[in-house]
Subunit: 399 residues, 2 copies
């Protein structure tokens, strides 16, 4: 296998706002992985694409053909993101060795439920890997989550493996917090082995805040810039307490959350109980909900087992100054940093993560952390579509 | 790469009746491929699974979660078919080197149409490859069609490449006819190179016949056994002529057909125009429609370019004696054989085909025939999920 490799990681998250592309130099693999971010772009989806994705991800019934078309359409949009990140970085796409594409989740149910006479859990990401490989000429790994679920895991979270490679420390016990649509934490006790890593979703990240901002600005604003809306409001305490009583927060890890728990129905419940409330008070309450549910998860499930010296925040939420402030108040004894403080831009972390996971797959290394997903064993994630570059990537010389 | 390999091909076709599994010894690759079928099983789907698949493939709107669950459920059923073919053959699944799984097509649109402001064609097979690889421990190639479509092809037919490997002849010009739900032909002129191979769908195979039989037997019978129902009826000539006037039959190849053209709506049209007709006359008319549309395709699109010494029939239709008789009448100058006469059981041919295509993918050989699909170029098909056996398969010794 070629070493070092130039890898592109693609991530489009539950917030459905667009696709992130990170162009990363990766040397080595496993615990010897060393990375350097060359460039990062975030390409928003057009409104009609976002509308179709929201419709499908909200489980509105659609013909199979709509999902089939979205699978191909997203791959075309991902291709454009690949071209964009290459162009801006002054790199020819023929120089890229590998693409790791998370895809867009349109369904995720980690608890088995009856279906056609069987108990089934399943997860579903779209953004056709074959199309990306053909369009770009670059070998592409996609569909990382199903393999973990096939091994008895919840299919999420997958970033803990990346957190372990990038952020583990011999002296400091660290907690990684990613605040995307959903918030999740990875616990990396000082000097820990991969087997000791634990991770789980803590509940809503930006998903509820964003939904409220979109609703009250008539879709003009997609998120609470810097947290200024939330900061101008006051938390509605009875509503906050009611929301924090959601049984998800008490459930023991491993656990995963999504639009199913904290999507439209959850926001509707907030609006019903806060009908007379000021908009900024609702946003403040949603922000406080994220901060408090993260802090509660740390207190309940992490601190009994390990100290926490540092909490390192990434994802869109790291740019919400009000959220960061509420987090610090809720966890006064913990030093709170952003991943940027350790050299990884907060917005790029997940996309970088899928570049690293693709590199691991090509090295036949498992990319899931059983302590994070609940899988029976570590497994090699994803499905590989061979690009025109595959022989060069593998150093294969015979025809 | 290990050589020879023991490979399982899995096929579940548009007839939605179950999954075929072929256990095949494959030596070599490309034009040096030599195969030997060890065992073949056909495992029918349970009624409720078939009902869900028919609902989804008929484009009834469903939540994305239903398709997500079916994707996992089918992989579980495919796993059982793998176990069954191994057990019956007295082979441990740990002896199997590779699985090639076609999956279940739930949407296929080869002509681009507007979608979210773009022109899009797409194809969609389910039956999660990652799950098959995890459940069986065997490296699995799945999703063969999207890559061809990404290269500008219609994503079908894919069996022509296999036909070329198995049936080409230096002296005899051969025509391969597969009669599954849809019928397709591959033309292999004597001594031809792969570039001269042409193939296309001719229209309905068993799809219309089966739908009529299911309807009139209240789902008790799934197909016309030996063609005895059709043989006992008389063709309704005005209706037959009306059906043969369908513009699909005149369209120039490459072309593909599916449930979109010859599914429920087509059968409804037949029933409306034959309301007073006897059941067996309708079945006879549908059988004649298949035979005549195949013959018309041969006359229109093949004979102007090459002679045809032999037509070799495979698929379920090869067991319909009445259909075989009507084909011979419609093409009096051609010797009509079944693939069984050349050593390939008719029912197993497509499953064997996907075993061979998976072997080609692992050898980094293209598996599409541009003259069949209309693709811009030959491309390596499918996505690879690494099984526990992958290092052994590749002869990789380092960790």
């Amino acid at each position: 296998m070629k070493n070092p490799c130039l890898v592109i990681g693609l991530m489009s998250g539950t917030s459905l706002d667009g696709v992130d592309a990170a162009l990363v130099d990766i040397a080595g693999s496993g615990t010897d992985t060393r990375i350097s971010l060359r460039h990062f772009v975030s390409v928003p989806f057009a409104k009609d694409v976002q509308g179709e994705l929201l419709r499908v991800a909200s489980q509105t019934p659609v013909p199979a053909g709509v999902i089939s078309h979205l699978n191909f359409l997203l791959a075309a949009l991902y291709t454009e993101a690949v071209q964009r990140v290459c162009e801006e970085a002054g790199v020819a796409s023929s120089e890229v060795d590998l693409i790791g594409s998370h895809g867009q989740t349109i369904f995720h149910q980690s608890e088995p439920a009856p279906f056609c006479g069987r108990m089934l859990a399943s997860t579903f990401q779209i953004g056709e890997g074959s199309l990306l490989a053909e369009n770009t000429g670059v070998t592409t790994v996609s569909d990382f989550r199903p393999r973990d679920m096939a091994a008895g895991g919840k299919g999420a979270p997958l970033i803990p493996y990346v957190d372990y490679l990038l952020f583990r420390d011999a002296q400091l016990s660290r907690l990684l917090l990613n605040v995307g649509g959903i918030a999740n934490i990875t616990s990396l006790p000082a000097g820990s082995a991969l087997e000791q890593v634990k991770a789980f979703d803590t509940g809503p990240g930006n998903m509820v805040i964003d939904a409220l901002v979109r609703r009250f600005t008539n879709e003009e604003q997609g998120y609470d810039t810097n947290g200024s809306l939330g900061a101008s409001g006051q938390a509605i305490v009875p509503l906050l307490e009611k929301l924090l009583a959601n049984p998800f927060f008490e459930a023991h890890p491993p656990k995963t959350a999504g639009r199913e728990q904290f999507g439209q129905a959850f926001v509707r419940q907030m609006l019903e109980h806060g009908q007379t409330a000021r908009f900024e008070d609702l946003v403040c309450t949603a922000t406080e909900l994220t901060a408090r549910s993260v802090a509660a998860a740390v207190t309940r499930f992490v601190l009994p087992e390990t100290t926490v010296h540092q909490m390192i925040v990434s994802g869109g939420g790291a740019r919400n100054a009000f959220l960061m402030q509420r987090l610090q108040l809720a966890l006064p004894k913990t030093e709170i940093l952003t991943s940027e403080d350790l050299g990884i831009p907060t917005a790029a972390k997940e996309a970088i993560g899928f570049a690293i996971l693709a590199n691991e797959t090509l090295h036949l290394h498992a990319g899931n952390v059983p302590g994070a997903t609940g899988a029976r064993r570590p497994v090699v994630l994803g499905k590989v579509a061979y690009g025109d570059n595959y022989r060069r990537l593998r150093g294969i010389t015979q025809p």
